[in-house]
Amino acid sequence: MAEARPGGNDNSLPTFRETVEDFLYHEAALLDEWRLDEWLALFTADARYVVPTTDLPEGDPKKDLVFIDDDMVRLRARVERLKSRHGHREYPWSRTRRFITNVRIKSLEKDNIFVTSSFLVYRFRMGETSPYVGWYEHRLKQLDRELKIHHKRIVLDMEALREHGAVSIIL
């Protein structure tokens, strides 16, 4: 996960902020490279992955309709599906590129880190371009000196899935 950092001397330790940012960039790279099993390994066993609908960004999966509300069983099944040639919307896989910016560490209590960031995920497939735009909520946990995702919530800014037709990739 740690990557070479230019500048400074080689012995300098990354700041906490850099560690968190590096983690988010690492996650984005795994997804852009379709290294989905490695991506799954970033989550805690009791993690959740949630995408609310475009008309109800504050949606609560317990009582509201959302696009995605995965526990690890379903998230693993989602990954298996994306790796299969029968996940037709992503066979062949689209090309994606994720941009993450405006990273804000909102709270830090013991080992629980709450980070928000803005994202732009470009998806290219079959001659079409479909950008997903929004913000991430990552609730991270520091476990054995490693960061893990305990909760990832993806709030979309678009008014509808206009160019996308679906949420077929992992955001």
């Binding site: 509201d64 599906r81 037709h88 919307r89 079959m126 899935l161």
Partner: protein, 434 residues
């Protein structure tokens, strides 16, 4: 544009073909607007979406901006979303609550019954100006069938119940499941598909594609403990044309239903509640109708573009053409008002895994029909083939229900009046049985 001949329907020879220009021609799309969407009853909303006095929402129907509001008197009214003064949109938020609606352009103010109650400097108008006549306008016809509100831009359309024909009983099967009425769950799915709108009618009624297209969904379900044998035989029930273009495809639910067939997926803790619901249904509707309501799942088309998909969840899906190769889809979830949170969770779970655009099935349907639309560009193949099951009593895996839609569509497009939408062989069988 020559419409005659767009469909070849020869039951005795087992031939049913649709000319692919029906999916690609801009001219046909314009004619559909005039001959189908301006003639039919069209689904707008469910009354539960505006629960309290003053609640309003805006929504487009057949490209026309409308909004609906529950007045301070408790009555739901539907209005064309345009100021009677110079045309600006009155309702510019997707939803809200207000006693009055004011046009921002010149500040004309309407109450939530649609009456014009405020005109700045009204003295500037002469005697030809009658404020009482300048209230918000409604579509020519608005009606409510058991909570489902429809509009029609055709003042001469038959009454809604007559229009619903055989679909009415299937709507009843859905609505009667609730003790205290149904409600739309907050949060809707809005997505666009780069395909002709009629391809989603076909796809939503088509039991034939389910096993091959949705292989990954069934793998997921199997991994949760559902026996695959159940999936293999689930789509063997008869398909039905319900008259006036409405159609239904029924199948056996493979994962139980919150109303009211328990399966291990619902957990031991919900067994008693599901049994209680079932007992209530039996008490109220009898064994036979309860079996129809609680054991069998159904995909119902209310012609031309409303799907009510009643399985573990109840999906309400409506879709509108934007261009010959583009449609806008909105889907909602319907649930009994009294439903306990654990069962609601299972219901939402099913929507998310199957019917939602982030699920394990719908993205592949989107891909499939976009793929059809892309394939039409090859042009060399003029016809789509829809004769499956024409020689037998059609089942969910056949295409009778698709033909029913197409025959009605053809009837509207050619102005044929009453159209027989079922296959003749089925008609003969029913006549003999009757």
């Amino acid at each position: 544009m020559e419409l005659k001949g767009l469909i070849i329907d020869k039951p005795t020879e087992g031939i049913f073909r649709v000319h692919r220009s029906a999916m690609t021609s801009t001219e046909i799309l314009q004619m559909e607007q005039e001959r189908v969407f301006n003639k039919c009853w069209l689904y707008l909303c469910h009354e539960s979406e505006v629960e309290n006095p003053g609640d309003y929402r805006r929504r487009n129907v057949a490209g026309r901006p409308l909004f609906f509001v529950r007045g301070s008197d408790g009555k739901v009214r539907v209005f064309l979303n345009t100021c009677t003064h110079r045309g600006a949109l009155i309702c510019r938020r997707d939803q809200g609550n207000s006693e009055v609606l004011q046009c921002f352009y010149h500040a004309w103010t309407f109450n939530n019954h649609g009456e014009l109650i405020g005109v700045p400097d009204e003295a500037g108008y002469g005697k030809g100006f009658n404020r009482a006549e300048m209230g918000l306008k409604s579509p020519p016809r608005v009606d409510n069938y058991r909570g489902f509100i429809f509009v029609s831009f055709n003042p001469d359309v038959e009454d809604l119940v007559t229009y619903l024909a055989g679909a009415r009983d299937y709507i009843d099967l859905v609505v009667d499941q609730a003790e205290e009425g149904m409600r739309i769950i907050s949060g809707s799915n809005r997505y666009f598909i780069k395909a002709n709108w009629k391809l989603l009618v076909e796809n939503s009624l088509d039991g034939y594609h389910v096993k091959p297209t949705h292989k990954t969904y069934f793998e997921y379900v199997t991994s949760l403990g559902v026996k695959t044998g159940a999936v293999q035989t689930a789509f063997s029930r008869p398909a039905r044309a319900l008259g006036k273009g409405h159609a239904v495809e029924e199948h056996d639910g493979v994962r139980g239903r919150p109303i009211a067939r328990w399966s291990p997926l619902f957990g031991e803790e919900n067994k008693e509640e599901i049994a209680r619901i079932r007992a209530r249904l039996v008490h109220k509707f009898g064994e036979q109708r309860t079996r129809l309501m609680a054991d069998i799942s159904r995909n119902l088309l209310v012609y031309p573009n409303l799907m009510i998909i009643d399985s573990i969840d109840i999906t309400v899906r409506v879709f509108w053409p934007i261009a010959p190769d583009l449609m806008e889809v909105t889907a909602w979830q319907l649930a009994p008002k009294e439903e306990k949170s654990e069962l609601l969770a299972r219901r939402l779970d099913n929507f998310l895994t199957f019917h939602g655009p982030g699920g394990f099935a719908t993205p592949d349907d989107v891909e499939a029909i976009e793929s059809c639309q892309a394939g039409y560009k090859a042009e060399g193949v003029e016809w789509s083939e829809l004769s499956r099951g024409m020689h037998r009593e059609a089942i969910a895996e056949d295409e009778l229900q698709l033909r029913a839609f197409w025959r009605q569509w053809y009837g509207y497009m050619l102005g044929l009046g009453k159209v027989e939408t079922s296959d003749p062989v089925v008609r003969e069988r029913s006549a003999v049985a009757g």
